[in-house]
Subunit: 358 residues, 2 copies
C-alpha cells in the first residue's frame, strides 16, 4: 500500500460537513485501490480566527506544507465580514496560496447531461459545455506592490493596488495551460486586456512566445470584456482558458454559474513541486451551515482532483468520479440541484450514496 | 427653435453606416420637436490613424469639446490590431474620454419583450431584465500611474499597471449612480473586490458614506466574482450597478450579452459639465462593414440618450425610443436579431423604417 499524508482544512460554514463526507470517500476509494491516508485536521479561516486570532496559524501552514496534499472546505462568513484585512478569513486563504506557492488554479466547468436543466442557459447552449479555466493564482493585483492607502496632492485619500507580472510568472502558467489543453481538446484561449494594460501586453507577448513550444495546440487571444460575453453567448467554443489572477476570479465564477450547478464544481491549485491545494469552488454558505443541506459533490470531486493532480493516483480518482456520476444516475440530488422526479437527499445521505458506489 | 452643435465621429468598420442613419433620425426628430442640429463630422480611431497618423487628432478633440454633444460610431479593426499602444484606435477612445472628462458611463441592458428569444438565457430568466451599469470611466487601472515595462531584480521583464482611486472620483460616480437609481427602481448594487484590494476597500467606504445622502435608495455591495455569477443566475435582481472602470468593462459587456441583442444597446458617457459622449456598445464589426448589414438601432438609441442626457430634450428622446419600439413591433429585424416570422432588413432600410415612425 502507498501512504500519503493529507491535511484537511474544514474551515467555516458548510466546510466541515462537506470535508467530513469527502474524507470518508477518500478513505473508501483508498482502501479499494491499496492507498492509505494519514489525515490531519487543522484550523483555517474564521474558525482559526476564533481559536487563535489569525486566519492562517503557522502550525496550519506548516502542516499543509509538509503533507502530500491539502483538502480545503470553505472559508468566511457574516461574522468576520467587517474585519480588517489582516484578520479576514480571505487573507488566510491568500496566505495559504502564497505559502504553498500554488500558482496554477485549475477550475473545470462542465455541464453534466444529468444536470443540463440546472443551467439558466437554454438547453442547446448549455449542453456539452466542458471547459477549464487555468487561473494564475499567486501574482498580479492580488499580491502586487505597492498597495495600500495614501493621500494625494489635493490632500484626499487614495486607495491603490499594483497589477504586475514578471515574464517567468506568465511563462509557467502558460505552460500549465498548454499542457492542460494537450490532455483535452488541444485548444487554448488566452484572455487579457492587451489593448489597454501594459501588464496584459507582456502577458500576450509571453504566451505567444511559449506557444512555439506547443505547435500542436491552437492558441487564440481574447479581450476580457469579450470573454465575459462569449461565455454567455456560446460557451462551447472554449476548451482551456488561461488568464491572470483577477480576470480568472471573475471569469471562472461566471463559467461555473453557466453550468448551473456550482455545488458540483471542484478546483485544484498546483505549484512547481510541493503539495497541491484542492477545494470546491463554492463558498461557505453560512445560511445553510450545520443543517445537513450542503451538496458535498464539489468537495468529493475536489478529492478526486487531489488524487489525480496531487498524488498521480489516476485509478482512485476515476473510481470517485464514476461513483459520483453513478449516484446522479440513480437520481440522488441535494436541494441545489434538485429537479422533479429525483430523490432529494441531504449532505450525509449523498455521501453515503457515493460511498456505496465507490 | 433650439440650436445644438453635434460632433459626429463615425470611426471605423460599421461606424460610418450606423452614424449616418442615426444622424437622419436625429434630424427628423429635431424637425418635429423644433430643434435644429449643426453636425460636424470628424475623423477618429483607425480612420484618423490612416489620415493623420494619430487616433485622436487635436482638431477632433477640439471640435468635440466645443460642441453640445458627441455621437460616436465604433472604432478599431484587424488592420490596426498589432499597432503599438500610442497608435492604437483604442488609445484614441481613451484620450477622448479623458479629454472630455466623461467619468460616468451609463450602460443600460434591458430585454425587450419583442426580443426575449434572442437571449441565450432561458425565457423565464431573461424576460423582464432591465438594469443599468454605471461604470467609472476616467480613472482606475485604465489611467493609473505608474504603468509600463521594466526589469526586476532578477533581470526579467515585468509589465505593470496601477489601480488607483481618489475619494472624489468615487464620490462623484457614486452620486451619479444614486441619482440614476432614484429615477429608476431605487436599488443600487455597488460592485468591488473589497475582500482583497485596498482600492476597493476605499471604494466601498466612500459609497457607503455617500449613501447617507440617499436614504431613499437601497444600497447593497457585491464582490465582482459574485456579480459575474449573479448576472447569469438571476439578472432580474439588479436595478443599477455601480463599479470601477475595469470591472465595469467586463460586467457591462456580460450584462449586454445577457439581453442577447447587443446590436440594440446604447451608452452615454457624462462629465460634470461639457458635452457628453454617446455611442453604441457594440464594436466596429469589420467583417460586415460596408455590406449594409449592421443594426443601426444601438446608435439610434444612443442618439436618444444624447437628447435625454446630453441636451435635456426629453420629448425628442422619447419620440425616437417609441419609433424604435414601433419599428420592432412592425416586425423589422436586421440579421443579428432576426427570428422566424419577421422581416429581414439591412441597415439603411431599418433606418428608413425608424424615420417613418419618428
Ligand atoms: C475568497 C477570495 C479571496 C477568493 C479569490 O478572490 O481568489 C475567492 O473568490 C476565490 O476565487 O477563490
Ligand atoms: C475599446 C476599449 C478600450 C474599451 C474599454 O475597454 O473601455 C471598450 O471595451 C469599451 O468598453 O468601451
Amino acid at each position: 500500500t502507498r501512504h500519503y499524508a493529507i491535511t484537511l482544512l474544514p474551515g467555516d460554514g458548510i466546510g466541515p460537513e462537506v470535508v467530513s463526507v469527502a474524507k470518508k470517500v477518500l478513505q473508501r476509494a483508498g482502501s479499494v485501490e491499496g492507498i492509505h491516508f494519514d489525515f490531519q485536521e487543522m484550523p483555517m479561516g474564521g474558525a482559526a480566527l476564533d481559536l487563535t486570532g489569525v486566519p492562517l496559524p503557522k502550525e496550519t501552514l506548516e502542516a499543509a506544507r509538509s503533507s502530500d496534499a491539502v483538502l480545503l472546505g470553505a472559508i468566511g462568513g457574516y461574522k468576520w465580514d467587517k474585519n480588517e484585512k489582516h484578520v479576514k478569513p480571505e487573507t488566510g486563504l491568500l496566505q495559504l496560496r502564497e505559502g504553498l506557492k500554488v500558482f496554477a488554479n485549475l477550475r473545470p466547468a462542465s455541464v453534466l447531461p444529468q444536470l443540463v436543466d440546472a443551467s439558466t442557459l437554454k438547453k442547446e447552449v448549455a449542453e456539452g459545455v466542458d471547459l477549464m479555466v487555468v487561473r494564475e493564482l499567486t501574482g498580479g493585483i492580488y499580491f502586487g506592490k505597492p498597495r495600500g492607502f495614501s493621500t494625494n496632492d489635493n490632500g484626499e485619500e487614495i486607495g491603490f493596488n499594483t497589477e504586475v507580472y514578471a515574464s517567468h510568472e506568465i511563462d509557467r502558467i502558460a505552460r500549465v495551460a498548454f499542457e492542460t489543453a494537450r490532455k483535452r481538446r488541444g485548444k487554448l484561449c488566452s484572455v487579457d486586456k492587451a489593448n489597454v494594460l501594459e501588464a496584459s501586453m507582456l502577458w500576450r507577448r509571453r504566451v505567444t512566445e511559449i506557444a512555439l513550444e506547443y505547435p500542436d495546440i491552437e492558441l487564440t487571444h481574447m479581450y476580457v470584456d469579450n470573454a465575459s460575453m462569449q461565455l454567455v453567448r456560446f460557451p462551447k467554443q472554449f476548451d482551456v482558458i488561461v488568464t491572470n489572477n483577477i480576470f480568472g476570479d471573475i471569469l471562472s465564477d461566471e463559467a461555473s454559474m453557466i453550468t448551473g450547478s456550482i455545488g458540483m464544481l471542484p478546483s485544484a491549485s498546483l505549484g512547481e513541486n510541493g503539495p497541491g491545494l484542492f477545494e470546491p469552488i463554492h463558498g461557505s454558505a453560512p445560511d445553510i451551515a450545520g443543517q445537513d443541506k450542503a451538496n458535498p459533490l464539489a468537495t468529493i470531486l475536489s478529492a478526486a482532483m487531489l488524487l489525480k493532480y496531487g498524488l498521480g493516483e489516476q485509478d482512485a480518482a476515476e473510481r470517485i468520479e464514476t461513483a459520483v456520476l453513478n449516484t446522479l444516475d440513480r437520481g440522488f440530488r441535494t436541494g441545489d440541484i434538485y429537479s422533479d422526479g429525483n430523490i432529494m437527499v441531504g449532505c450525509t445521505e449523498m455521501g453515503e450514496q457515493v460511498l456505496r458506489a465507490v
